[in-house]
Symmetry: D4
Amino acid sequence: GFAKVDHHRKKRQGFPEVIFGEGKSASQIIDISRAMMNKQENILITRVSEEKATAICEEIPSFEYDQISRTLVRRYQEKLEYQLDGYIAIVCAGTSDLSVAEEAAKTAEAFGVEVRRFYDVGVAGIHRLFAHIDEIRDATVSVVIAGMEGALPSVVGGLVSHPIIAVPTSIGYGANFQGLSALLTMLNSCASGISVVNIDNGFGGAYNAILIHRLANKRT
Amino acid sequence: GFAKVDHHRKKRQGFPEVIFGEGKSASQIIDISRAMMNKQENILITRVSEEKATAICEEIPSFEYDQISRTLVRRYQEKLEYQLDGYIAIVCAGTSDLSVAEEAAKTAEAFGVEVRRFYDVGVAGIHRLFAHIDEIRDATVSVVIAGMEGALPSVVGGLVSHPIIAVPTSIGYGANFQGLSALLTMLNSCASGISVVNIDNGFGGAYNAILIHRLANKRT
Amino acid sequence: GFAKVDHHRKKRQGFPEVIFGEGKSASQIIDISRAMMNKQENILITRVSEEKATAICEEIPSFEYDQISRTLVRRYQEKLEYQLDGYIAIVCAGTSDLSVAEEAAKTAEAFGVEVRRFYDVGVAGIHRLFAHIDEIRDATVSVVIAGMEGALPSVVGGLVSHPIIAVPTSIGYGANFQGLSALLTMLNSCASGISVVNIDNGFGGAYNAILIHRLANKRT
Amino acid sequence: GFAKVDHHRKKRQGFPEVIFGEGKSASQIIDISRAMMNKQENILITRVSEEKATAICEEIPSFEYDQISRTLVRRYQEKLEYQLDGYIAIVCAGTSDLSVAEEAAKTAEAFGVEVRRFYDVGVAGIHRLFAHIDEIRDATVSVVIAGMEGALPSVVGGLVSHPIIAVPTSIGYGANFQGLSALLTMLNSCASGISVVNIDNGFGGAYNAILIHRLANKRT
Amino acid sequence: GFAKVDHHRKKRQGFPEVIFGEGKSASQIIDISRAMMNKQENILITRVSEEKATAICEEIPSFEYDQISRTLVRRYQEKLEYQLDGYIAIVCAGTSDLSVAEEAAKTAEAFGVEVRRFYDVGVAGIHRLFAHIDEIRDATVSVVIAGMEGALPSVVGGLVSHPIIAVPTSIGYGANFQGLSALLTMLNSCASGISVVNIDNGFGGAYNAILIHRLANKRT
Amino acid sequence: GFAKVDHHRKKRQGFPEVIFGEGKSASQIIDISRAMMNKQENILITRVSEEKATAICEEIPSFEYDQISRTLVRRYQEKLEYQLDGYIAIVCAGTSDLSVAEEAAKTAEAFGVEVRRFYDVGVAGIHRLFAHIDEIRDATVSVVIAGMEGALPSVVGGLVSHPIIAVPTSIGYGANFQGLSALLTMLNSCASGISVVNIDNGFGGAYNAILIHRLANKRT
Amino acid sequence: GFAKVDHHRKKRQGFPEVIFGEGKSASQIIDISRAMMNKQENILITRVSEEKATAICEEIPSFEYDQISRTLVRRYQEKLEYQLDGYIAIVCAGTSDLSVAEEAAKTAEAFGVEVRRFYDVGVAGIHRLFAHIDEIRDATVSVVIAGMEGALPSVVGGLVSHPIIAVPTSIGYGANFQGLSALLTMLNSCASGISVVNIDNGFGGAYNAILIHRLANKRT
Amino acid sequence: GFAKVDHHRKKRQGFPEVIFGEGKSASQIIDISRAMMNKQENILITRVSEEKATAICEEIPSFEYDQISRTLVRRYQEKLEYQLDGYIAIVCAGTSDLSVAEEAAKTAEAFGVEVRRFYDVGVAGIHRLFAHIDEIRDATVSVVIAGMEGALPSVVGGLVSHPIIAVPTSIGYGANFQGLSALLTMLNSCASGISVVNIDNGFGGAYNAILIHRLANKRT
Ligand SMILES: Nc1ncnc2c1ncn2[C@@H]1O[C@H](COP(=O)(O)O)[C@@H](O)[C@H]1O
Ligand SMILES: Nc1ncnc2c1ncn2[C@@H]1O[C@H](COP(=O)(O)O)[C@@H](O)[C@H]1O
Ligand SMILES: Nc1ncnc2c1ncn2[C@@H]1O[C@H](COP(=O)(O)O)[C@@H](O)[C@H]1O
Ligand SMILES: Nc1ncnc2c1ncn2[C@@H]1O[C@H](COP(=O)(O)O)[C@@H](O)[C@H]1O
Ligand SMILES: [Mg+2]
Ligand SMILES: [Mg+2]
Ligand SMILES: [Mg+2]
Ligand SMILES: [Mg+2]
Ligand SMILES: [Mg+2]
Ligand SMILES: [Mg+2]
Ligand SMILES: [Mg+2]
Ligand SMILES: [Mg+2]
């Protein structure tokens, strides 16, 4: 029967509760959060505007808001210790993709996974990427985020051997078509070992990376 | 300097050589294959029509052609032994997606990774999926292939905890737009832990899964 | 001649008057409503913003506004009794599609048809759907509403034998393209017995279901 | 448990077995058909080319092929008697949509449902539609098929009170974009009571109509 | 040389000056208008918001603003007399397309051409069109305006023998894609004698009709 | 009643019968033609392949086939005399659009209207257009045909005062998208007095021009 | 090693520093600008709203803001002298494309290159272009900017022999699709010697022209 | 007057005659070529299939056919000497883009311009590009050709200072959409100094480069 589903749940034990904040009112989020707080788990809420965050934090002061990633995090354990070996590399070109990159980074950290940030390594100045390539290579998995033409995952993919989760962003204008350009670039990448999530889905990029990172640790 | 690149290559030692057969003539493929045969590695050639395969096998009889997946494989070691624990699940709905599913399966096998096939589990008859769900759950990673509306990865994603590589296929007609429908479905999946490769890219789906599978084994 | 048209009208006797509120000013809606009130029928107005609703209700206090569905309803008969056997199932994944689902539900109720709501049954957690499947199956017809990847009608369609009216919503982001993703998914469904209406057209979904529900009752 | 699924199956008792012929070889179809013939049910195979049909009929002479609809039907009962009251109207503009219209008609007939054909009633000469409108109105449900601009369902929808299943076809050229034009027209119809299936999906249009037609008869 | 161009200008003598107001500031429009006022011709300005219109009329009180069509007109001759025989029919479905229809009507009137308005004749209630068909037929040319599915020109085109200029509007939602649906419908019309202008281009629809209407009068 | 429709027909007296040949078999065309031949009118058949034409002409030798325009014409009156003053200008850039331009020209001639051809006047060498501009200006109406970027109607529209029917063609490659590029160019033209028909619709372009040309003559 | 990259930098000596202002806050721009001011080079910031510009100029008064082009420029040398022979032609149709044209012009000037502006030469009134064609021809390279149908580069391209950088703008409505129409027109141009940059990318258009202009001067 | 046009022609003296072979029959090409041969200039014909080439060469044996680029060239001067300093770099990823790259190369050579080919430098193995970067940098201008994700021009653009003409190719499958993916990538490039021509337009890429190359030589 459907006890199978519970089995699935159990496998993810230790994962924080996640709420997708977009399209939910502050009071809806407060209600859901309160229900979750009984479970004594970390809570991560994504896509929360500053205005909503203020309203929520007034009610539940244990939430910490981060403006750039637009995430709210509540840590059940005061100081979170990393339980896993290694780290996830979060790679992007620069300031414009920062918001998506930080959604990914904060997500991974809320799941107790170490991340290293490589945030100024766009393909138009490829020497910046090379300056960090060894540290990127030593990650378990990379989340590579790019807007405009979205070429970064192809270049990184040609230089590292681990799996890459590519996240297109909606940064750009004109023939960018709100991220379609970067999305198509990533889906058509010549480099192997790249898979793609939805435009601006920093959370999703990190979530896939976390699953892989856990697998790499599981059997030790 | 660029010795870094060699380092990258080394990490992938033991991987077979892969040739993308589409758009290459039989004689071009023969030339490339001959050059590779010196390296004493397995060789995998994808997207080879029957006609081309015949011409190639006449010249290089050590190639084995598989009609459904349209792959040519040459095994350097007579009998390939699986070096890794566990298996990759290849999941699809039925006969129409078979060709892409088998491209994925043959790819994994050419890389020395065990696969298990779950080929009759489309969402329109979901009980068939449930009959196999425990065996799918026990895989390291799943490659989930679907054409038409492409809903299968979402459903599987809700039932398993490991990463899913979703492969849309171009199977369908009308508003399917050669696989665009399934591609969008997968990119927009409500289920977490799903990343996507290009339409009909069975090879790419498997390649990502193999990288993950290796990671899961590496630290043992 | 065109008396035929009257014949058509007559067949729909007992149906409420419906006004599509979008793009009409409050005063335009008031004028149209007043003209209709002579007919002593129920009146349903869809797509009314809260601001407009306030202005209208001040003038015509017999209207009841519902914030979630954004509908205004005026009941000519104080307490509406259901004249038909059976019910329509309104099925959706959760909070984000609520507005469209409730537009459908309020429409059916304004037409005197019983609805049952199944509002937390998204495909990413399919056990929730199974918990209610028998009650959904016993409906005459289902209106199945889904945003993001829009896979829910396919799954429901595989589990019930009655007709399904699928309503894609514009909920999502990135490669969702304002509901295009869900729309294509539904048009390409592998499951038989599914037909589709326009994105966010909760009214249209319900209207088709009502016509079918009436047919199922007509010959008794 | 999943015995529920059987329950679903049972509700459709008396339905013929259906095979989607596209993308299946003649020998695959023969194998599937033979397996089904044990069940002593009618068999309907859609999307069968003339060439494949010849090969299949040689092996299984009890199949009857229809060139226009490209369907193969095997009737288990020598002479099929209509068990249901009323009929389904199949409405289209003319010769170019004939193939899709006949796929719908043959489907309904294979399910034992009476159809009436209205095949020369395009909107550019609307008097032809009016000549038949009373007979169309008396149907339980209409399947309205149109290519090019796809306006026919809107016009019919304004004249009849029963549900309409609209089927866009890929007939046209230039800005028709293989049926996209007609599909969008139908999804955006001003007339209520119209739902839509995939481009060229005559089978699907009929299947939905059949489910509705059965409902209209069920409670008698 | 280019005196040819003057020749072209001359042929259009008696035409008012036209300004496309969108994207121009009130003060830019005032400057252009003042320069034109020396020419002692009628002036037509399209796409003027209410706010801009107020600013302009304060400076140039001889302008008359029309809210629905968003046009400003300045008549050099106090009372305009129609110099041409016959009239142009402006045909549309109802309130939602009114703004575009009136842009067309006001344009024709500014050019001294009589128009007759047929504004409640949508295809979903085709008897309304028939009530006026004789008067529409007697026009020299029709401008037929439609949003949503845009089927009206096809139906009118089948009933009249004069040329039809079809104007798609952006009215609709979801799969309407801002008027794309209606545009494609019109381009794919089965009826002959229909040509199409840009979405929401009421001015362009009228301008084409005016040129035709003048031709029909020229040779008298 | 619908006698109105006959009235419409009558107004078009003297028009030839037209058959759209695409998607009709040779024998279907022969049957339709024979039925029409009783009416003692000219017959025009468009979109007829050479192969079909040969089969048809064998049966009905009075048909004349034109390879470039792919039209079949049967003239009831041995030698057709032009009954109307003036001519239609058919304007295009060169050899690649010839087929569409000739479909337009042959259509006009089959309707007894004089055409003048201006076939080497593309915008990339604009002096060629200027060499003929006076003769183009003296036409009643122009049909302007263009593939690739489709800029020709804009340029002609700026130089002539009569109405222009623009016909985009599917000539081009890459980002041409089978004529979409030219279609959009024409719909967005800055020049007034341009309306557009479907891609490659030479017949439709001519038909609109003929209606206008007749109007210009009617009142003499 | 990567000293190569420095070599690349050196070749562009004398170029101003450029900041893409869109998506950066005033304070981010101030920080970046201050860091650059040490380099004693001209600074160009594009896509700066009036509001941001005010905030920036308050902090760094040496910046000059231009409303139309939305650029901020800081000149290190009080009076900039042109170091290169010849000029770049900036060609566009009129007021609506002014903002993009001026972004191009200001860019070139910030790089010390002379520009000549030809701003009222749209294809719908082609005599205006001819009045200036000799001066355009004498430029080293032209930046041709056009919205709506985007035909101007094709016409200019047929009249001049130097390279043309075409810049589509998002000016237009309806089937313009935010500049897609003009973009496709330019990519499909029949005229040779035209290459294209992104929609509204006045900066990019100028930058390419500057590189070409420098080449034309380099070898003197 | 239009003597201006001749002036334009003169400036291009020394350029070969070019014929676009696509859509022209062998005999049409022969006729055009013969007319041109009087002019004693080199002749270049692009997009000629092998079959057509054979027919043409039989008639005009002085033509040389190149299978890969599908070009025919006739050299008026037996041995062509390069008259210009420097060279154009033709850069692409490998075998799949060869046909387009060679169309560019043969075009440049037919115009008497030296080219250097860099044909194995795709971004997925970026060390190959670095091995040649100095020689690419020393070119006057680069034509960078790429299919699939089209990232190569962005990377090259970040490493060289001269202008880059980017040519997207239609190589790829699935979400490549016949080159749309590469086209969008190039239009959205983060690197400055890149302009784009139509998909597969090797000729156009070279033509733009030739114009720039001539400019760089002109003033010496
Ligand atoms: N930024 C995000 N983008 C996409 N999915 C998200 C995001 N944040 C959270 N989610 C997913 O949304 C789920 C919660 O959705 P909900 O139940 O609507 O709060 C989580 O389990 C995640 O899988
Ligand atoms: N939310 C809705 N979406 C689409 N159609 C609607 C909706 N609400 C009402 N309608 C239709 O709009 C018609 C009324 O349109 P109107 O005459 O503009 O008020 C009704 O008869 C319904 O068929
Ligand atoms: N023409 C058709 N278009 C779409 N679906 C069809 C068609 N004909 C049959 N089907 C569906 O395809 C199913 C059989 O698919 P298969 O298992 O591939 O034979 C049937 O149960 C029908 O639901
Ligand atoms: N090339 C064409 N493109 C579009 N419509 C055409 C064409 N040729 C003929 N037609 C139209 O098709 C109608 C005949 O269609 P049919 O009844 O299918 O032969 C004619 O009355 C014309 O209006
Ligand atoms: Mg890699
Ligand atoms: Mg999962
Ligand atoms: Mg079902
Ligand atoms: Mg109806
Ligand atoms: Mg007509
Ligand atoms: Mg004009
Ligand atoms: Mg030129
Ligand atoms: Mg550069």
